[in-house]
Symmetry: C2
Subunit: 314 residues, 2 copies
Protein backbone atom coordinates (compact mmCIF):
# COMPACT_ATOMS: atom_id res chain seq x y z
CA UNK A 1 0.00 0.00 0.00
CA UNK A 2 2.90 2.37 0.62
CA UNK A 3 6.27 2.54 -1.07
CA UNK A 4 9.46 4.29 -0.06
CA UNK A 5 11.90 5.60 -2.65
CA UNK A 6 15.20 7.37 -2.16
CA UNK A 7 15.49 10.75 -3.85
CA UNK A 8 19.17 10.89 -4.81
CA UNK A 9 19.47 14.61 -5.57
CA UNK A 10 17.88 15.62 -2.27
CA UNK A 11 19.31 12.74 -0.27
CA UNK A 12 15.95 11.93 1.28
CA UNK A 13 13.23 9.30 1.25
CA UNK A 14 9.88 10.06 -0.42
CA UNK A 15 6.84 8.11 0.76
CA UNK A 16 4.14 7.09 -1.76
CA UNK A 17 0.73 6.32 -0.28
CA UNK A 18 -1.54 6.10 -3.30
CA UNK A 19 -4.69 5.18 -1.38
CA UNK A 20 -4.54 8.64 0.22
CA UNK A 21 -6.06 10.05 -3.00
CA UNK A 22 -9.35 8.68 -1.62
CA UNK A 23 -9.11 10.30 1.78
CA UNK A 24 -12.03 12.27 3.17
CA UNK A 25 -11.81 15.90 2.06
CA UNK A 26 -13.56 18.63 4.07
CA UNK A 27 -16.81 16.71 4.68
CA UNK A 28 -20.06 18.52 5.51
CA UNK A 29 -20.40 19.63 9.12
CA UNK A 30 -22.81 16.78 9.97
CA UNK A 31 -20.66 14.05 8.36
CA UNK A 32 -17.50 14.53 10.38
CA UNK A 33 -15.77 11.15 10.78
CA UNK A 34 -14.11 12.35 14.00
CA UNK A 35 -17.38 13.20 15.74
CA UNK A 36 -18.75 10.73 18.30
CA UNK A 37 -21.35 8.26 16.99
CA UNK A 38 -24.82 9.57 17.76
CA UNK A 39 -27.86 7.37 18.36
CA UNK A 40 -29.48 6.36 15.07
CA UNK A 41 -26.73 7.93 12.98
CA UNK A 42 -24.05 6.06 10.96
CA UNK A 43 -21.02 4.93 12.91
CA UNK A 44 -18.09 7.37 12.71
CA UNK A 45 -14.43 6.49 13.30
CA UNK A 46 -15.27 6.53 17.01
CA UNK A 47 -18.13 4.12 17.92
CA UNK A 48 -19.07 5.83 21.18
CA UNK A 49 -21.64 8.50 22.04
CA UNK A 50 -18.99 10.59 23.77
CA UNK A 51 -15.27 10.46 24.49
CA UNK A 52 -12.40 12.44 25.91
CA UNK A 53 -9.34 11.65 23.76
CA UNK A 54 -9.41 9.00 21.02
CA UNK A 55 -6.41 7.43 19.26
CA UNK A 56 -6.71 5.06 16.32
CA UNK A 57 -4.93 4.00 13.15
CA UNK A 58 -5.34 6.42 10.26
CA UNK A 59 -7.69 4.90 7.67
CA UNK A 60 -5.57 6.51 4.97
CA UNK A 61 -2.11 5.87 6.39
CA UNK A 62 1.15 7.36 5.16
CA UNK A 63 2.91 4.44 6.88
CA UNK A 64 1.54 1.01 7.78
CA UNK A 65 2.63 -1.70 10.16
CA UNK A 66 5.08 -3.42 9.96
CA UNK A 67 6.76 -0.57 8.07
CA UNK A 68 5.89 2.29 10.37
CA UNK A 69 2.66 3.71 11.76
CA UNK A 70 0.15 6.51 11.18
CA UNK A 71 -2.30 7.34 13.96
CA UNK A 72 -4.97 9.96 14.52
CA UNK A 73 -5.33 11.63 17.92
CA UNK A 74 -8.72 13.28 18.42
CA UNK A 75 -8.49 15.86 21.20
CA UNK A 76 -12.18 16.10 22.12
CA UNK A 77 -15.65 15.09 20.96
CA UNK A 78 -16.52 18.78 20.54
CA UNK A 79 -16.28 19.41 16.79
CA UNK A 80 -16.02 23.18 17.25
CA UNK A 81 -13.27 23.23 19.85
CA UNK A 82 -9.57 23.67 19.10
CA UNK A 83 -6.32 22.71 20.79
CA UNK A 84 -6.18 26.23 22.24
CA UNK A 85 -9.68 26.01 23.71
CA UNK A 86 -9.33 22.63 25.44
CA UNK A 87 -9.75 22.74 29.23
CA UNK A 88 -6.34 22.68 30.94
CA UNK A 89 -6.94 19.18 32.33
CA UNK A 90 -7.69 17.83 28.87
CA UNK A 91 -4.56 19.43 27.42
CA UNK A 92 -2.56 17.85 30.24
CA UNK A 93 -4.15 14.48 29.54
CA UNK A 94 -3.14 14.89 25.91
CA UNK A 95 0.52 15.18 26.97
CA UNK A 96 0.16 11.79 28.72
CA UNK A 97 -1.46 10.28 25.65
CA UNK A 98 1.40 11.60 23.50
CA UNK A 99 3.88 10.12 25.99
CA UNK A 100 2.16 6.75 25.94
CA UNK A 101 2.14 6.65 22.12
CA UNK A 102 5.79 7.74 21.94
CA UNK A 103 6.68 4.90 24.30
CA UNK A 104 4.64 2.23 22.56
CA UNK A 105 5.50 3.17 18.98
CA UNK A 106 9.12 3.89 19.88
CA UNK A 107 9.53 0.37 21.24
CA UNK A 108 8.73 -1.13 17.84
CA UNK A 109 11.65 -2.40 15.80
CA UNK A 110 10.15 -1.09 12.56
CA UNK A 111 9.94 2.49 13.84
CA UNK A 112 13.00 4.73 13.99
CA UNK A 113 11.34 8.05 14.73
CA UNK A 114 8.03 8.93 16.41
CA UNK A 115 6.67 12.26 15.27
CA UNK A 116 3.62 13.89 16.86
CA UNK A 117 2.13 16.83 14.99
CA UNK A 118 -0.96 18.86 14.25
CA UNK A 119 -1.91 20.57 11.00
CA UNK A 120 -4.37 23.37 11.72
CA UNK A 121 -6.28 25.29 9.07
CA UNK A 122 -7.03 24.91 5.38
CA UNK A 123 -3.93 27.04 4.75
CA UNK A 124 -1.79 24.01 5.66
CA UNK A 125 -4.08 21.55 3.90
CA UNK A 126 -6.31 20.35 6.72
CA UNK A 127 -9.03 18.04 5.39
CA UNK A 128 -10.95 17.62 8.67
CA UNK A 129 -11.72 20.58 10.93
CA UNK A 130 -12.50 18.52 14.04
CA UNK A 131 -9.65 19.21 16.50
CA UNK A 132 -7.09 16.46 16.09
CA UNK A 133 -3.45 15.73 15.63
CA UNK A 134 -1.50 12.90 14.06
CA UNK A 135 1.39 10.63 14.91
CA UNK A 136 3.71 9.14 12.31
CA UNK A 137 6.09 6.34 13.12
CA UNK A 138 8.79 6.60 10.45
CA UNK A 139 10.59 3.39 9.45
CA UNK A 140 13.70 5.54 8.84
CA UNK A 141 15.31 8.61 10.34
CA UNK A 142 13.73 11.59 8.54
CA UNK A 143 15.90 14.49 7.30
CA UNK A 144 15.01 17.05 9.94
CA UNK A 145 15.88 14.62 12.75
CA UNK A 146 19.22 14.16 10.97
CA UNK A 147 19.69 17.94 10.74
CA UNK A 148 19.03 18.29 14.48
CA UNK A 149 21.57 15.59 15.22
CA UNK A 150 24.09 17.38 12.99
CA UNK A 151 23.43 20.55 15.00
CA UNK A 152 24.29 18.68 18.22
CA UNK A 153 27.55 17.56 16.64
CA UNK A 154 28.34 21.03 15.26
CA UNK A 155 27.65 22.74 18.60
CA UNK A 156 29.49 20.08 20.59
CA UNK A 157 26.53 19.14 22.79
CA UNK A 158 22.75 19.44 22.93
CA UNK A 159 21.80 22.09 20.36
CA UNK A 160 18.41 23.00 21.91
CA UNK A 161 20.14 23.45 25.32
CA UNK A 162 22.70 25.79 23.72
CA UNK A 163 20.09 27.75 21.77
CA UNK A 164 17.83 28.06 24.82
CA UNK A 165 20.70 29.51 26.85
CA UNK A 166 21.38 32.05 24.08
CA UNK A 167 17.71 33.06 23.90
CA UNK A 168 17.51 33.46 27.70
CA UNK A 169 20.68 35.58 27.70
CA UNK A 170 19.32 37.77 24.90
CA UNK A 171 15.63 37.77 25.93
CA UNK A 172 14.49 39.87 22.94
CA UNK A 173 12.72 36.92 21.34
CA UNK A 174 11.31 35.20 24.46
CA UNK A 175 7.52 35.40 24.37
CA UNK A 176 6.32 33.20 27.27
CA UNK A 177 7.70 31.28 30.22
CA UNK A 178 6.51 28.70 32.72
CA UNK A 179 8.46 27.06 35.53
CA UNK A 180 9.55 24.28 33.15
CA UNK A 181 9.35 25.81 29.67
CA UNK A 182 10.47 28.78 27.59
CA UNK A 183 8.73 29.88 24.38
CA UNK A 184 10.63 31.99 21.89
CA UNK A 185 10.78 33.05 18.28
CA UNK A 186 14.11 31.59 17.19
CA UNK A 187 17.02 33.84 16.21
CA UNK A 188 16.83 32.58 12.61
CA UNK A 189 13.10 31.81 12.29
CA UNK A 190 12.08 30.65 8.82
CA UNK A 191 8.42 31.63 9.26
CA UNK A 192 7.32 35.13 10.32
CA UNK A 193 5.64 33.85 13.49
CA UNK A 194 7.56 30.63 14.02
CA UNK A 195 7.93 29.84 17.74
CA UNK A 196 9.55 27.04 19.72
CA UNK A 197 8.46 25.75 23.12
CA UNK A 198 11.50 24.24 24.85
CA UNK A 199 11.87 22.34 28.12
CA UNK A 200 14.30 24.17 30.43
CA UNK A 201 15.89 20.94 31.63
CA UNK A 202 17.48 18.55 29.18
CA UNK A 203 14.71 16.07 28.41
CA UNK A 204 15.18 13.76 25.44
CA UNK A 205 11.47 13.02 25.18
CA UNK A 206 8.13 13.17 26.94
CA UNK A 207 9.16 9.95 28.67
CA UNK A 208 11.82 11.82 30.65
CA UNK A 209 9.47 14.55 31.88
CA UNK A 210 8.05 14.80 35.37
CA UNK A 211 4.32 15.34 35.83
CA UNK A 212 4.79 19.03 36.57
CA UNK A 213 6.78 19.46 33.38
CA UNK A 214 4.04 17.86 31.31
CA UNK A 215 1.49 20.20 32.90
CA UNK A 216 3.72 23.18 32.16
CA UNK A 217 4.24 21.99 28.60
CA UNK A 218 0.47 21.78 28.07
CA UNK A 219 0.05 25.29 29.49
CA UNK A 220 2.87 26.66 27.32
CA UNK A 221 1.49 25.10 24.14
CA UNK A 222 -2.01 26.35 24.87
CA UNK A 223 -0.69 29.79 25.83
CA UNK A 224 1.07 30.06 22.50
CA UNK A 225 -1.89 28.71 20.51
CA UNK A 226 -4.20 31.23 22.21
CA UNK A 227 -1.71 33.99 21.55
CA UNK A 228 -1.68 33.06 17.89
CA UNK A 229 -5.49 33.27 17.74
CA UNK A 230 -5.34 36.66 19.49
CA UNK A 231 -2.56 37.99 17.24
CA UNK A 232 -4.78 38.79 14.26
CA UNK A 233 -8.09 38.04 16.01
CA UNK A 234 -8.72 35.03 13.78
CA UNK A 235 -8.18 31.26 13.99
CA UNK A 236 -4.47 31.01 13.30
CA UNK A 237 -3.24 28.25 10.99
CA UNK A 238 -0.09 26.37 11.93
CA UNK A 239 1.85 23.16 11.83
CA UNK A 240 2.72 22.06 15.38
CA UNK A 241 5.72 19.70 15.35
CA UNK A 242 6.82 17.79 18.46
CA UNK A 243 10.52 17.02 18.14
CA UNK A 244 11.89 14.30 20.39
CA UNK A 245 14.79 11.87 20.44
CA UNK A 246 14.76 9.27 17.66
CA UNK A 247 13.85 5.81 18.93
CA UNK A 248 16.13 4.14 16.38
CA UNK A 249 18.71 5.13 13.81
CA UNK A 250 21.75 3.65 15.49
CA UNK A 251 23.42 4.02 18.87
CA UNK A 252 24.80 7.52 18.18
CA UNK A 253 21.34 8.91 17.47
CA UNK A 254 18.69 6.82 19.27
CA UNK A 255 17.78 8.58 22.51
CA UNK A 256 19.73 11.75 21.63
CA UNK A 257 17.60 14.84 21.37
CA UNK A 258 15.83 17.48 23.40
CA UNK A 259 12.05 17.66 23.55
CA UNK A 260 10.78 20.85 21.97
CA UNK A 261 7.71 21.81 20.02
CA UNK A 262 8.06 23.93 16.88
CA UNK A 263 5.17 25.90 15.40
CA UNK A 264 5.26 26.90 11.71
CA UNK A 265 2.45 29.35 10.91
CA UNK A 266 2.04 30.23 7.22
CA UNK A 267 0.66 33.73 7.84
CA UNK A 268 2.97 36.72 7.56
CA UNK A 269 0.14 39.24 8.07
CA UNK A 270 -3.54 38.85 9.00
CA UNK A 271 -4.33 38.12 5.36
CA UNK A 272 -1.09 37.32 3.57
CA UNK A 273 0.44 33.87 3.38
CA UNK A 274 4.08 33.01 3.05
CA UNK A 275 4.48 30.73 0.05
CA UNK A 276 7.34 28.33 -0.37
CA UNK A 277 8.42 29.26 -3.87
CA UNK A 278 11.58 29.59 -5.95
CA UNK A 279 14.14 30.21 -3.24
CA UNK A 280 12.67 27.88 -0.62
CA UNK A 281 11.90 25.00 -2.98
CA UNK A 282 14.70 25.21 -5.50
CA UNK A 283 17.59 26.53 -3.40
CA UNK A 284 16.46 25.61 0.12
CA UNK A 285 16.78 29.13 1.49
CA UNK A 286 13.90 30.90 3.23
CA UNK A 287 13.40 34.57 2.38
CA UNK A 288 11.54 36.32 5.21
CA UNK A 289 10.18 39.86 5.27
CA UNK A 290 9.73 39.86 9.06
CA UNK A 291 12.46 40.21 11.70
CA UNK A 292 12.14 37.67 14.54
CA UNK A 293 12.50 40.42 17.17
CA UNK A 294 9.54 42.31 15.69
CA UNK A 295 7.26 39.29 15.53
CA UNK A 296 8.34 38.28 19.06
CA UNK A 297 7.18 41.65 20.39
CA UNK A 298 3.77 41.27 18.73
CA UNK A 299 3.42 37.66 19.78
CA UNK A 300 4.43 38.42 23.39
CA UNK A 301 1.69 41.05 23.58
CA UNK A 302 -0.84 38.72 21.96
CA UNK A 303 -0.08 35.92 24.45
CA UNK A 304 -0.41 38.40 27.34
CA UNK A 305 -3.83 39.59 26.19
CA UNK A 306 -5.19 36.16 25.18
CA UNK A 307 -7.61 34.55 27.66
CA UNK A 308 -5.72 32.01 29.78
CA UNK A 309 -8.61 29.57 30.02
CA UNK A 310 -10.87 29.60 27.00
CA UNK A 311 -13.57 26.96 27.03
CA UNK A 312 -15.38 27.99 23.87
CA UNK A 313 -14.46 27.66 20.23
CA UNK A 314 -11.68 29.62 18.64
Amino acid sequence: MTELRFNELRGEVVDYAIHRQERTFLPARDHCPLDPTRAGAPVTEIPFPSFEIAVFDNRFPAFESPHGAAEVVVYTDDHDASFASLPARRAQALMWVWRQRYTELGARDDIQYVYIFENRGVEVGVTLHHPHGQIYGYPFLPPIAEREHEADVRLGGCAPCTLLARELADRTRVVHETASTVTYVPHAARWAYEAHVVLREHRASLLDCEAGELADLAAALQGLARGYDALFDRPFPYVMAVHQAPTGGGPAIAGAGHLHVEFYPPLRTAEKLKYLAGSEQGAGTFISDTLPEDSAALLRAAIARAPMRGEGGS
Copy 2:
Protein backbone atom coordinates in the same frame (compact mmCIF):
# COMPACT_ATOMS: atom_id res chain seq x y z
CA MET B 1 18.63 46.25 4.00
CA THR B 2 19.02 42.47 4.15
CA GLU B 3 20.39 40.31 6.94
CA LEU B 4 21.58 36.70 6.90
CA ARG B 5 21.26 34.51 9.98
CA PHE B 6 22.30 30.91 10.45
CA ASN B 7 19.53 28.58 11.61
CA GLU B 8 21.40 26.09 13.79
CA LEU B 9 18.74 23.37 14.03
CA ARG B 10 18.27 23.23 10.26
CA GLY B 11 21.89 23.96 9.39
CA GLU B 12 20.90 26.63 6.87
CA VAL B 13 20.98 30.37 6.30
CA VAL B 14 17.75 32.39 6.50
CA ASP B 15 17.61 35.69 4.60
CA TYR B 16 15.70 38.65 6.08
CA ALA B 17 14.62 41.30 3.58
CA ILE B 18 12.23 43.49 5.57
CA HIS B 19 11.60 46.01 2.80
CA ARG B 20 9.91 43.23 0.85
CA GLN B 21 6.79 43.76 3.01
CA GLU B 22 6.17 46.78 0.76
CA ARG B 23 6.45 44.94 -2.53
CA THR B 24 3.78 45.33 -5.18
CA PHE B 25 1.03 42.77 -4.65
CA LEU B 26 -1.22 41.72 -7.54
CA PRO B 27 -1.73 45.21 -9.02
CA ALA B 28 -4.69 46.05 -11.24
CA ARG B 29 -4.37 44.93 -14.85
CA ASP B 30 -3.61 48.47 -16.09
CA HIS B 31 -0.98 49.19 -13.40
CA CYS B 32 1.42 46.37 -14.15
CA PRO B 33 4.97 47.51 -13.38
CA LEU B 34 6.36 45.02 -15.91
CA ASP B 35 4.37 46.39 -18.83
CA PRO B 36 6.13 48.70 -21.30
CA THR B 37 5.73 52.43 -20.67
CA ARG B 38 2.93 53.76 -22.87
CA ALA B 39 2.74 57.32 -24.21
CA GLY B 40 1.23 59.66 -21.62
CA ALA B 41 1.08 56.97 -18.91
CA PRO B 42 3.32 56.80 -15.81
CA VAL B 43 6.72 55.20 -16.30
CA THR B 44 6.81 51.50 -15.41
CA GLU B 45 9.93 49.53 -14.48
CA ILE B 46 10.73 49.49 -18.18
CA PRO B 47 10.91 53.02 -19.71
CA PHE B 48 10.35 51.94 -23.31
CA PRO B 49 7.23 51.67 -25.45
CA SER B 50 8.09 48.09 -26.40
CA PHE B 51 10.78 45.51 -25.66
CA GLU B 52 11.75 41.91 -26.20
CA ILE B 53 13.43 40.72 -22.99
CA ALA B 54 14.19 43.07 -20.10
CA VAL B 55 16.51 42.41 -17.14
CA PHE B 56 16.88 44.76 -14.18
CA ASP B 57 17.57 44.78 -10.46
CA ASN B 58 14.59 43.78 -8.33
CA ARG B 59 13.21 46.88 -6.59
CA PHE B 60 12.46 44.70 -3.55
CA PRO B 61 15.58 42.53 -3.52
CA ALA B 62 16.16 39.46 -1.41
CA PHE B 63 19.90 40.04 -1.88
CA GLU B 64 21.72 43.26 -2.69
CA SER B 65 25.12 44.09 -4.07
CA PRO B 66 27.79 43.65 -2.72
CA HIS B 67 26.19 40.77 -0.82
CA GLY B 68 24.52 38.98 -3.68
CA ALA B 69 22.02 39.97 -6.34
CA ALA B 70 18.31 39.78 -7.17
CA GLU B 71 17.23 40.46 -10.74
CA VAL B 72 13.96 40.36 -12.64
CA VAL B 73 13.81 38.90 -16.16
CA VAL B 74 10.73 39.97 -18.10
CA TYR B 75 10.12 37.55 -20.97
CA THR B 76 7.98 39.76 -23.22
CA ASP B 77 6.08 43.04 -23.28
CA ASP B 78 2.83 41.08 -23.76
CA HIS B 79 1.19 41.05 -20.34
CA ASP B 80 -1.07 38.13 -21.23
CA ALA B 81 1.57 35.79 -22.61
CA SER B 82 3.32 33.06 -20.64
CA PHE B 83 6.63 31.24 -20.85
CA ALA B 84 4.82 28.42 -22.67
CA SER B 85 3.33 30.75 -25.26
CA LEU B 86 6.50 32.64 -26.22
CA PRO B 87 7.55 32.26 -29.87
CA ALA B 88 10.35 29.71 -30.18
CA ARG B 89 12.88 32.39 -31.14
CA ARG B 90 12.05 34.41 -28.01
CA ALA B 91 12.41 31.34 -25.79
CA GLN B 92 15.79 30.66 -27.42
CA ALA B 93 16.85 34.25 -26.83
CA LEU B 94 15.88 33.82 -23.19
CA MET B 95 18.37 30.96 -22.87
CA TRP B 96 21.11 33.32 -24.09
CA VAL B 97 20.01 36.00 -21.63
CA TRP B 98 20.12 33.43 -18.79
CA ARG B 99 23.58 32.39 -19.94
CA GLN B 100 24.80 35.98 -20.01
CA ARG B 101 23.46 36.64 -16.50
CA TYR B 102 24.95 33.39 -15.17
CA THR B 103 28.33 34.44 -16.57
CA GLU B 104 28.24 38.01 -15.31
CA LEU B 105 26.83 37.29 -11.85
CA GLY B 106 28.93 34.15 -11.46
CA ALA B 107 32.10 36.17 -12.02
CA ARG B 108 31.39 38.33 -8.97
CA ASP B 109 33.36 37.52 -5.83
CA ASP B 110 30.34 38.12 -3.60
CA ILE B 111 28.20 35.52 -5.40
CA GLN B 112 28.65 31.80 -4.77
CA TYR B 113 25.59 30.48 -6.57
CA VAL B 114 23.53 31.87 -9.46
CA TYR B 115 19.96 30.61 -9.41
CA ILE B 116 17.51 31.31 -12.25
CA PHE B 117 13.86 30.53 -11.53
CA GLU B 118 10.25 31.33 -12.29
CA ASN B 119 7.29 31.24 -9.93
CA ARG B 120 4.10 30.86 -11.91
CA GLY B 121 0.60 31.20 -10.48
CA VAL B 122 -0.96 32.56 -7.32
CA GLU B 123 -0.70 29.01 -5.92
CA VAL B 124 3.05 29.56 -5.51
CA GLY B 125 2.66 33.15 -4.35
CA VAL B 126 3.12 35.09 -7.56
CA THR B 127 2.53 38.82 -7.01
CA LEU B 128 2.80 39.93 -10.65
CA HIS B 129 1.10 38.00 -13.48
CA HIS B 130 3.17 39.51 -16.29
CA PRO B 131 5.38 36.69 -17.60
CA HIS B 132 8.74 36.95 -15.87
CA GLY B 133 11.34 35.04 -13.99
CA GLN B 134 13.94 35.95 -11.41
CA ILE B 135 17.63 35.45 -10.78
CA TYR B 136 19.16 35.32 -7.32
CA GLY B 137 22.88 35.54 -6.74
CA TYR B 138 23.42 33.92 -3.34
CA PRO B 139 26.39 35.11 -1.29
CA PHE B 140 26.64 31.56 0.09
CA LEU B 141 26.09 28.04 -1.18
CA PRO B 142 22.39 27.27 -0.56
CA PRO B 143 21.32 23.91 0.93
CA ILE B 144 19.96 22.30 -2.22
CA ALA B 145 23.20 22.98 -4.10
CA GLU B 146 24.95 21.29 -1.16
CA ARG B 147 22.58 18.32 -1.38
CA GLU B 148 23.29 17.95 -5.10
CA HIS B 149 27.02 18.01 -4.44
CA GLU B 150 26.55 15.36 -1.74
CA ALA B 151 24.70 13.24 -4.31
CA ASP B 152 27.70 13.50 -6.66
CA VAL B 153 29.94 12.29 -3.84
CA ARG B 154 27.54 9.50 -2.83
CA LEU B 155 27.16 8.25 -6.40
CA GLY B 156 30.86 8.57 -7.16
CA GLY B 157 30.45 10.91 -10.13
CA CYS B 158 27.94 13.27 -11.67
CA ALA B 159 24.58 12.45 -10.07
CA PRO B 160 22.39 13.89 -12.88
CA CYS B 161 24.42 11.86 -15.44
CA THR B 162 23.83 8.68 -13.40
CA LEU B 163 20.14 9.39 -12.86
CA LEU B 164 19.61 10.25 -16.53
CA ALA B 165 21.17 6.94 -17.58
CA ARG B 166 18.84 5.10 -15.19
CA GLU B 167 15.77 6.90 -16.51
CA LEU B 168 16.76 6.19 -20.12
CA ALA B 169 17.30 2.52 -19.29
CA ASP B 170 13.91 2.30 -17.57
CA ARG B 171 11.97 4.68 -19.86
CA THR B 172 8.70 4.45 -17.85
CA ARG B 173 9.05 7.99 -16.58
CA VAL B 174 10.50 9.69 -19.69
CA VAL B 175 7.93 12.17 -21.03
CA HIS B 176 9.73 14.11 -23.78
CA GLU B 177 13.02 14.08 -25.70
CA THR B 178 14.94 16.33 -28.03
CA ALA B 179 18.32 15.72 -29.64
CA SER B 180 20.04 17.33 -26.62
CA THR B 181 17.61 16.92 -23.73
CA VAL B 182 15.50 14.36 -21.88
CA THR B 183 12.50 15.27 -19.75
CA TYR B 184 11.33 12.84 -17.09
CA VAL B 185 9.36 12.55 -13.88
CA PRO B 186 12.07 11.47 -11.43
CA HIS B 187 11.98 8.02 -9.83
CA ALA B 188 11.40 9.61 -6.40
CA ALA B 189 9.48 12.76 -7.35
CA ARG B 190 8.36 14.82 -4.35
CA TRP B 191 5.54 16.57 -6.25
CA ALA B 192 2.84 14.68 -8.16
CA TYR B 193 3.82 16.24 -11.49
CA GLU B 194 7.44 17.12 -10.80
CA ALA B 195 9.58 16.87 -13.92
CA HIS B 196 13.25 17.44 -14.73
CA VAL B 197 14.68 18.58 -18.03
CA VAL B 198 18.27 17.30 -18.27
CA LEU B 199 21.01 17.88 -20.86
CA ARG B 200 22.12 14.57 -22.37
CA GLU B 201 25.77 15.58 -22.39
CA HIS B 202 27.51 16.57 -19.20
CA ARG B 203 27.20 20.36 -19.12
CA ALA B 204 28.00 22.13 -15.87
CA SER B 205 26.09 25.23 -16.88
CA LEU B 206 24.53 27.17 -19.74
CA LEU B 207 28.02 28.47 -20.44
CA ASP B 208 29.13 25.00 -21.59
CA CYS B 209 26.22 24.50 -23.98
CA GLU B 210 26.44 24.76 -27.73
CA ALA B 211 23.89 26.86 -29.61
CA GLY B 212 21.92 23.79 -30.69
CA GLU B 213 21.71 22.61 -27.10
CA LEU B 214 20.34 25.96 -25.97
CA ALA B 215 17.70 25.80 -28.72
CA ASP B 216 16.77 22.26 -27.68
CA LEU B 217 16.62 23.30 -24.05
CA ALA B 218 14.22 26.12 -24.91
CA ALA B 219 12.06 23.69 -26.89
CA ALA B 220 12.09 21.13 -24.09
CA LEU B 221 11.13 23.67 -21.43
CA GLN B 222 8.35 25.07 -23.58
CA GLY B 223 7.15 21.59 -24.51
CA LEU B 224 6.86 20.69 -20.84
CA ALA B 225 5.20 23.97 -19.88
CA ARG B 226 2.65 23.52 -22.69
CA GLY B 227 2.06 19.95 -21.61
CA TYR B 228 1.39 21.16 -18.08
CA ASP B 229 -1.20 23.64 -19.37
CA ALA B 230 -2.81 20.87 -21.44
CA LEU B 231 -2.78 18.35 -18.57
CA PHE B 232 -5.82 19.78 -16.76
CA ASP B 233 -6.74 22.31 -19.46
CA ARG B 234 -5.90 25.22 -17.19
CA PRO B 235 -2.89 27.49 -16.61
CA PHE B 236 -0.66 25.23 -14.58
CA PRO B 237 1.18 26.71 -11.59
CA TYR B 238 4.78 25.74 -11.01
CA VAL B 239 8.17 26.71 -9.71
CA MET B 240 10.79 26.35 -12.48
CA ALA B 241 14.28 25.96 -11.00
CA VAL B 242 17.41 26.10 -13.14
CA HIS B 243 20.16 24.15 -11.38
CA GLN B 244 23.71 24.79 -12.53
CA ALA B 245 27.22 24.51 -11.14
CA PRO B 246 27.96 26.81 -8.20
CA THR B 247 30.24 29.70 -9.15
CA GLY B 248 31.88 29.72 -5.71
CA GLY B 249 31.88 27.61 -2.59
CA GLY B 250 35.45 26.33 -2.77
CA PRO B 251 37.46 24.40 -5.33
CA ALA B 252 35.66 21.07 -4.73
CA ILE B 253 32.27 22.58 -5.55
CA ALA B 254 32.72 25.60 -7.85
CA GLY B 255 32.11 24.47 -11.42
CA ALA B 256 30.85 21.02 -10.40
CA GLY B 257 27.28 20.33 -11.42
CA HIS B 258 25.09 19.36 -14.33
CA LEU B 259 22.66 21.80 -15.88
CA HIS B 260 19.09 20.64 -15.39
CA VAL B 261 15.79 22.38 -14.86
CA GLU B 262 13.39 21.11 -12.18
CA PHE B 263 9.68 21.93 -12.19
CA TYR B 264 7.71 21.73 -8.93
CA PRO B 265 3.99 22.03 -9.61
CA PRO B 266 1.77 22.28 -6.51
CA LEU B 267 -1.29 20.64 -8.12
CA ARG B 268 -2.01 16.97 -7.47
CA THR B 269 -5.31 17.04 -9.37
CA ALA B 270 -7.01 19.72 -11.51
CA GLU B 271 -8.34 21.32 -8.33
CA LYS B 272 -6.41 19.95 -5.39
CA LEU B 273 -3.15 21.37 -4.13
CA LYS B 274 -0.40 19.53 -2.35
CA TYR B 275 0.32 21.34 0.90
CA LEU B 276 3.62 21.15 2.70
CA ALA B 277 2.37 20.28 6.17
CA GLY B 278 3.38 18.21 9.17
CA SER B 279 5.56 15.59 7.52
CA GLU B 280 7.17 17.85 4.95
CA GLN B 281 7.81 20.79 7.28
CA GLY B 282 8.51 19.10 10.59
CA ALA B 283 10.17 15.86 9.50
CA GLY B 284 11.40 16.75 6.00
CA THR B 285 9.68 13.82 4.31
CA PHE B 286 7.30 14.27 1.40
CA ILE B 287 4.15 12.13 1.42
CA SER B 288 2.81 11.73 -2.12
CA ASP B 289 -0.45 10.14 -3.22
CA THR B 290 0.66 9.85 -6.87
CA LEU B 291 3.09 7.32 -8.34
CA PRO B 292 5.68 8.91 -10.68
CA GLU B 293 4.98 6.28 -13.38
CA ASP B 294 1.27 7.22 -13.38
CA SER B 295 1.87 10.96 -13.60
CA ALA B 296 4.52 10.38 -16.29
CA ALA B 297 1.97 8.58 -18.47
CA LEU B 298 -0.52 11.44 -18.12
CA LEU B 299 2.13 14.09 -18.67
CA ARG B 300 3.55 12.29 -21.73
CA ALA B 301 0.10 12.29 -23.32
CA ALA B 302 -0.48 15.93 -22.39
CA ILE B 303 2.83 17.00 -23.97
CA ALA B 304 1.97 15.02 -27.12
CA ARG B 305 -1.40 16.71 -27.50
CA ALA B 306 -0.27 20.24 -26.55
CA PRO B 307 0.21 22.65 -29.45
CA MET B 308 3.92 22.85 -30.29
CA ARG B 309 3.82 26.52 -31.23
CA GLY B 310 1.29 28.52 -29.28
CA GLU B 311 1.40 32.24 -29.87
CA GLY B 312 -1.60 33.25 -27.79
CA GLY B 313 -2.11 33.38 -24.04
CA SER B 314 -2.13 30.30 -21.86
